[in-house]
């Protein structure tokens, strides 16, 4: 075998990788919804980042109160005359922050617990899994509410508190995946090669379960957002500790969502616009999650394509030396 043959093998492997990526992307785009969701979430992130720089804090003007949607105020104005669109744009960042922070913390804790349980096994596995079972059966939102009450009401603290109590599902899933990796032959070869537990956990187990965890993360963001609406509906800011004042930095979409119900009669835009933005955000996240699940599942049939958009990469076997 000549050197050329080896180099050709490498080329074919790289082509195969490219082809697998294209197929994965096609599975992701299978029914179009995940792409729409991805574009929508990207748009929301851009608005959330750029928005506070191009808008001003909405001013209070009671002569402009409760105006219906118009060209000057596309989403109408609120109870004190603030522009609702500006409020939503400025509150979007905190809301996304809650979702991403909460999901990141819960996935991080769940990964650590789950991989430790899966890799070490034995008594550590048993103890950690009983602990996880306990975390499943406690009223998590009460503890989250308590953390918010003690640490103060802000987007960071809401995300942190929800993340600290909702890791159990991630831990159970990570343990199951880690066990499936551990029972394969790859783990035997890693142990025979002299890898430590830390090395095996970070270099062998984590990369193999990372893709599933990304899917879980996306669904978890939606779940954390839903839980934060419930948490905020319980009104932690009106607990006597915070003095009944809306603290600074709590300009959230979720607050608008909570306050809109009272003005449903007569001023329906105050209810429907924040709810619409919130629901479309969560549905877009669910679509992305579904697309990622399809991406990771190669057994799902792809729709037939009527024409090929990329050139044939695999040449005839006889053409190669």
């Amino acid at each position: 075998m000549s050197f050329a043959a080896i180099s050709d093998w490498h080329q074919r492997a790289s082509h195969g990788r490219k082809r697998r990526r294209r197929l994965a992307w096609r599975r992701f785009c299978r029914n179009g919804l995940p792409v729409i969701g991805l574009a929508y979430i990207a748009l929301l992130f851009i608005v959330a980042i750029v928005g506070p720089f191009v808008t001003r804090q909405p001013t209070v003007n009671i002569f402009q109160a409760n105006l219906s949607p118009s060209w000057a105020h596309p989403f109408g104005t609120g109870q004190y005359g603030q522009d609702l669109l500006t409020q939503i744009v400025r509150g979007l960042g905190g809301t996304l922050l809650i979702g991403v922070t909460g999901a990141a913390i819960s996935v991080a804790i769940g990964l650590i617990v789950g991989i430790a349980a899966g890799v070490f096994g034995g008594i550590i596995d048993a103890v950690l899994m009983r602990f996880t079972d306990f975390a499943f059966s406690i009223p998590t939102l009460i503890i989250a509410l308590f953390i918010v009450v003690v640490t103060g009401f802000s987007a960071w603290n809401v995300g942190l508190s929800i993340g600290l109590v909702t890791w159990a599902g991630c831990a159970r899933m990570a343990r199951g995946l880690a066990l499936s990796v551990r029972n394969g032959t790859l783990m035997d070869s890693a142990i025979l090669a002299g890898g430590s537990r830390w090395y095996i956990a970070t270099r062998y187990v984590l990369p193999q379960i990372a893709s599933n965890m990304i899917v879980f993360f996306v669904f978890q963001v939606a779940s954390v957002l839903f839980q934060s609406t419930t948490l905020i509906a319980l009104d932690p800011q009106y607990v006597p500790l915070t003095g009944g004042q809306l603290p600074p930095g709590s300009n959230l979409l979720l607050n608008l969502l909570n306050g809109g119900g009272g003005s449903y009669i007569g001023y329906r835009w105050l209810f429907w616009f924040p709810l619409g933005v919130y629901c479309s955000m969560v549905i877009a996240l669910l679509w992305i999650g579904d697309g990622l699940q399809a991406l990771l599942n190669p057994q799902q049939p792809l729709p037939r394509r009527w024409f090929a958009t990329w050139p044939r990469l695999r040449t005839a076997r006889g053409a190669r030396g």
Binding site: F134, F136, S137, I138, P139, T140, L141, I142, I143, L145, F146, V149, V150, A168, G169, A222, F226, Q227, T229, T230, A233, L234, D235, P236, Y238, V239, P240, L241, L257, N258, G260, G261, Y264, I265, F271, L275, Y278, C279, V282, I283, L286
Partner: protein, 305 residues
């Protein structure tokens, strides 16, 4: 199947034995968290002229919780008697189980039809709509339902509080809307997966019709996936019940949170006793719900023995 029955009884017995232990841990956790709360001891939250509440000793909450919800001393507020606690537990049980029943009755058939008819736009739209319903926050869903069914179409009389059957309809619908979303989603995905298995093809080859295949072969394995998801979801169902109770002014388990109650000078939420008893009552509810779901799982899962 005596083997399966024995296994189910053993697993359930173990679960029941663990519940008191977990409840004790919850009481200790509540007390530990209560000592972290600056409001429990500081004067800052007190009304001027009144002294702040003294934190209750540790044994107080253990005693009050472990005498199985006897006469509770609720912060510095009114005495909450056993009758009141049991009544609120009863109301919340009706709401929670009623909503689970309604969402199962509506959601599981929708999921099955959406899985069996992937090309039918009507069932796909129904499925997507149910998933959307599940994402609407319960506080807003309560507002939508009140304004649609009570004030808009005058189908259900609007009355706050608890007393008649009509009072339970809208709260149950509010919580059921949350549950319907994932019931449809997980039934649909489970049913899609099961219908591709070989034993379904075998049953079809033996001449069974679609209804028979779904009812006798596919439904049980398809529902196990839903039940594994339902277990971790019970706390969220309970909190949706609490939100619905707040929206419709129903004196259920939500009053235990003591948040909307103004207790002058006392920490309304966060002292060790209050927190541990709240955790105790909510934890008891969630553990009983989880136990019932485990029983249903063992009963439904064909691989249980």
């Amino acid at each position: 199947m005596p083997g399966k029955r024995y296994r189910i009884i053993r697993v359930i017995g173990l679960r029941i034995a663990v519940i008191p232990m977990l409840l004790c841990i919850l009481i200790i956790l509540g007390n530990a968290l209560g000592y972290l709360n600056p409001a429990a001891t500081s004067q800052s939250s007190a009304i001027p002229g009144l002294s702040a509440a003294k934190p209750a000793p540790f044994w107080h909450s253990v005693y009050t919780s472990l005498v199985a919800i006897g006469t509770l001393h609720w912060g510095t507020g009114p005495q909450i008697t056993r009758e009141l606690v049991l009544r609120s537990l009863e109301i919340s049980s009706i709401l929670t189980f009623g909503s689970l029943f309604v969402s199962a009755v509506v959601g599981i058939p929708c999921g099955i039809f959406a899985a069996l008819k992937p090309r039918n736009p009507l069932w796909q739209a129904v499925s997507a709509f149910c998933v959307l319903l599940g994402q609407v926050p319960p506080a807003d869903m309560a507002v939508i339902l009140i304004f649609t069914f009570s004030l808009g179409w005058h189908l259900i009389p609007l009355s706050y509080g608890w007393g008649s059957v009509a009072d339970a309809i809208l709260p149950i619908m509010t919580v059921a809307c949350f549950n319907i979303g994932y019931m449809v989603k997980y039934t649909e995905s489970g049913m899609r997966e099961v219908m591709q298995r070989s034993f379904i093809a075998a049953a079809r080859a033996r001449g069974a019709g679609t209804a028979s295949v779904v009812a006798h072969h596919a439904l049980r394995p398809a529902l196990t996936g839903l039940l594994t998801f339902l277990g971790p979801q019970t706390p969220m169902t309970l909190f949706c019940t609490v939100i619905a109770e707040q929206a419709f002014a129903i004196p259920g388990i939500g009053t235990m949170l003591g948040i909307k109650v103004t207790t002058y000078g006392a920490p309304a939420f966060g002292s060790g006793t209050t927190l541990s008893i709240t955790l105790f009552i909510f934890g008891l509810f969630i553990m009983v719900l989880n136990l019932l779901i485990d029983i249903a799982y063992l009963w439904l899962n064909p691989l249980a023995d």
